[in-house]
Amino acid sequence: MVVCALLLAAALPGAEPSGLEVSLAPSPGRLTVQLAANREVPGEWSRALAGGAPVTITYRLRLFRNRRWLWDQRLAGHELVVEAQRDPLTGIFTLIARQDGEVLASGHAATLEEAIHWVTHPPPAVIPVPLRHEPLWLVVRAEYLTRYKLLVIPSTVGTEWVTRAVPESP
């Protein structure tokens, strides 16, 4: 029993192994998603940002309907793209967050740390949630950039997919 308990404890996932914090605030017909990427950004990403190249972090939000006997049905997919670019002449970081192509928020940062914090803690995204009878799941991931393994095989650098049950609206 002790051994089984130890094995079970070892098999349980950690608190936030994915590197992405997801906070959900439901409201009627809407769901406010607050994201925070805790994973350290890749070095080439931060160097490119400091060098003046535009960089982005793409947060992919997918809403699934949990069907008991069938596979989960994908209801909607959203993208929250946070872009940052430093103006080397002024030293100011321009920050823009777009949800599904629409500007959600923008801002400026004076330092690299502020800019990184801004893009890793983007403004909350509000997504529509349909009325349903089955439980809903929100699957979220943050993508920093794309690398290529063995020269040609694309590999996305980002956090793990995080799944959260969508709470009922009050």
């Binding site: 080439e44 990403w45 160097r47 490119a48 400091a50 060098g51 003046g52 190249a53 535009p54 960089v55 993208e79 793209v81 670019q85 103006d87 080397p88 002449l89 002024t90 030293g91 100011i92 777009r98 599904d100 192509g101 950039l145 794309t146 690398r147 290529y148 020269l151 040609v152 694309p154």
Partner: protein, 702 residues
């Protein structure tokens, strides 16, 4: 319509092809929609990169899929053909595998080398000097700004100290600011308090300073600086806050030329950083593009290899298939494959060979037909027996001779042939180890037939491929010969009897005539007549005895005999029989023993010596020689007489035939019979220099 067009039209109308095209288009449309939906929010550069990588990936994957499908299909087909033993599959499999090894090996090697080179080339593009230059350009742009900010900050500090010394009155401070602005030549100076401008002095030669963003109160709560783009250049403002909250602001604008250069440097640095982010994508794009090109080459080479393997092997396989069909019993046909290379020459040579074979086959068929006709027409029976001597078939004459009509239509087992009264023939067939000639009697259909037999092996005598038997019906011939012989015997007996009958009749008539006359000489006449009659009757008695001797010759009794000694004794007996006649022996046989019947052979040799002695003139010599020649013993009796005296020497061996005008004429006949019973031959040959040589050849069975 051209052939390829017809083939395409025929292929295009196949339902399977239409379904495949439909499914392919559907997949392509779905993929395009998915791709568009996925990439619509990307910036143009990223979209281009991703789209290019995506298209290259799909291009490569499609080629790989097609290539694998083609290879698997052909290899599976070849494997199945080889498993089922389809002719030519082994050759094609070897050819295709050789092609694949020759194609994939070098191409894979070249691809790996090229990918490595591309990767290293991409790394070399982002070399350290370029990286340093790009970094330093960005640092330079930043440094210029920082220096301008520091300069503005120092000026703001100095002006704040001067303004503070002027007192706390607004007018005094404004006056001091105006004085310092003129004195120090700043482009922008001003006093701010609580987020509002008290006074701002600008250099009229710097129009870019006219529409600056107002400084907010929060920023002015403590000393600081700000850089911003304005009027096509960079404007730097720094402020120093006095104890009473008044902020002294100093600003300057960089020259547009310097700012433009600075912008270009900064843009180059930013572009460089962005390019570095896309380095792996660029490498992947190049490798994928080159991989796609290599795949196209491999695809074309594989397709060409498969096509050429079919093209090369098709004429050869057609040739071999034709020969296989011919080996299976079908007619050898020409191969109608047009080709103008060496394979074409081979096909043409094969077709020429087929034509010649057909001509020869026609000639052979004609010859066989003629032979068949002849065999059907001749009265000689011909049998063919298989190599195992189990069955035989023959022509109609053989079927009639052997009393088995089915012989002419099918192969009849020899046992069946033997059961039909041909046991002796079958026995002769089964025991023959080489060519055999002889006579046998068969009783086919309860009719006795005398057949002359000739058995010949087909092919190699040591291992014959079969046997041919020729049968000649001698029944009628023997009957006729027998009748002729009896007629000849009757004639000769009549002749032999008639010769003494005439003198007997004359003697009897003379006695009778003298008896009628009753003369004194009757007794003398009667005595002479009776003597003559008795003499002739005695001659007739001797003649009859010789007949009996010829008829009663017993079977030979062979036993080892010293033939030389036998001949020496006989020659010694005859030597001195007549004066002036010598018998000489030339014995080369010595003491060797031969398997003969000594009594009968002594009788035959005595007859030959009698004839030689009678034929030899006075003072002559009879030479008897004895020698061995191979497997035979040759005995020659040579005289110097008048010669053979007949055109046909064989007649001399017939009974009752004589050229001497006396004797029974049975001596040579007895000699021939005895020699023949020993398995030998006897011939009369004219002797060189005159005379006759009687040559007796006996098998030398020791």
């Amino acid at each position: 319509m051209r052939p390829w067009r017809r083939a395409w039209e025929r292929y295009r109308r196949q339902t399977r092809f239409l379904v495949i095209v439909y499914l392919l288009l559907m997949v392509l449309a779905g993929g395009a929609f998915w791709l568009f939906a996925r990439l619509r929010n990307l910036p143009p550069e990223e979209l281009t990169n991703r789209l290019l990588v995506f298209l290259l990936w799909w291009f490569d994957l499609t080629l790989i899929a097609i290539l694998l499908f083609m290879l698997l299909r052909n290899l599976t087909k070849l494997g199945l053909e080889r498993y089922h033993g389809v002719f030519g599959s082994r050759f094609r499999a070897k050819l295709v595998i050789s092609y694949l090894v020759l194609i994939f090996g070098p191409t894979l090697l070249v691809f790996l080398l090229s990918a490595s080179l591309l990767s290293h080339a991409a790394a070399s593009w982002f070399s350290a000097p370029v990286e340093e230059m790009a970094t330093q350009s960005t640092a330079l742009a930043t440094g210029l700004r920082l220096e301008a900010e520091a300069r503005a900050r120092r000026a703001a500090t100095l002006l704040a100290w001067e303004v503070a010394r002027a007192g706390e009155g607004r007018a005094a401070r404004i006056a001091a600011l105006e004085r310092l602005h003129r004195l120090r030549g700043h482009q922008l100076t001003g006093l701010w308090r609580d987020g509002a401008v008290i006074i701002e002095l600008q250099d009229p030669r710097a129009p870019e300073l006219r529409r600056l963003t107002p400084l907010d109160a929060t920023a002015l709560s403590s000393s600081g600086q700000r850089s911003e783009r304005a009027g096509g250049t960079l404007v730097v403002r720094a402020w120093e806050v006095l104890p009473d909250g008044t902020a002294v602001v100093v600003g300057e604008a960089l020259s547009p030329e310097l700012f433009a250069a600075q912008s270009r440097l900064a843009a180059a640095g930013a572009a460089w950083e962005q390019l570095k982010l896309q380095r792996t994508a660029m490498t992947a794009t190049m490798v994928l593009g080159f991989g796609g090109f290599a795949l196209v080459v491999v695809f074309a080479a594989v397709w060409l290899g498969l096509h050429l393997s079919r093209r090369f092997t098709a004429p050869l396989l057609a040739l071999v298939a034709s020969t296989e069909r011919a080996a299976g019993g079908e007619t050898l046909e020409e191969v109608p494959l047009p080709a103008d290379d060496e394979v074409g020459l081979l096909v043409e040579s094969f077709n020429a060979m087929v034509r010649r074979l057909k001509e020869k086959e026609a000639a052979l068929r004609s010859a066989v037909h003629r032979l068949d006709t002849v065999l059907h027409a001749v009265r000689t029976g011909v049998l063919t027996v298989d190599a195992q001597r189990t069955s035989a078939e023959g022509n109609p004459a053989a079927a009639a001779l052997l009393g088995m009509p089915e012989l002419a239509s099918r192969a009849v087992p020899l046992d069946e042939l033997a059961a039909a009264g041909n046991a002796r023939l079958v026995e002769a067939l089964r025991t023959a180890s080489g060519p055999v000639r002889g006579s046998i009697t068969v009783e086919a259909g309860k009719v006795a037939r005398a057949l002359e037999l000739a058995i010949l092996p087909l092919g190699d005598a040591g291992e014959p491929q079969g046997w041919v038997v020729a049968l000649e019906d001698l029944t009628q011939l023997l009957r006729a010969q027998r009748q002729a012989a009896w007629s000849e015997v009757a004639r000769r007996i009549a002749h032999q009897i008639k010769n003494p009958l005439t003198p007997i009749r004359l003697a009897a008539e003379r006695i009778a005539r003298h008896a009628e006359r009753g003369g004194e000489d009757f007794a003398s006449v009667a005595s002479q007549g009776c003597s003559a009659i008795v003499e002739h009757v005695q001659a007739m008695q001797e003649m009859v005895d010789s007949f009996a001797l010829y008829a009663r010759l017993p079977p030979v009794s062979l036993r080892p005999t010293n033939l030389g000694q036998l001949v020496r004794q006989l020659v010694a007996l005859y030597d001195g029989l007549r004066p002036n006649l010598h018998f000489r022996l030339d014995d080369a046989l010595g003491e060797e023993e031969v398997l003969v019947d000594p009594e009968q052979l002594r009788q035959a040799l005595a007859n030959l010596l009698d004839n030689a002695a009678e034929a030899s003139p006075a003072g002559g010599e009879v030479l008897v020689s004895l020698q061995r020649s191979g497997g035979e013993v040759k005995l020659v009796v040579a005289d110097r007489g008048t010669g053979i005296g007949s055109d046909d020497p064989d007649l001399l061996f017939q009974p009752f035939y004589s050229t001497k005008g006396r004797g029974s004429g049975i001596g040579l006949a007895v000699v021939q019979r005895i020699v023949a019973d020993h398995g030998g031959t006897v011939r009369l040959l004219p002797r060189e220099g005159g005379g006759v040589e009687a040559v007796v050849t006996l098998p030398a069975q020791g």
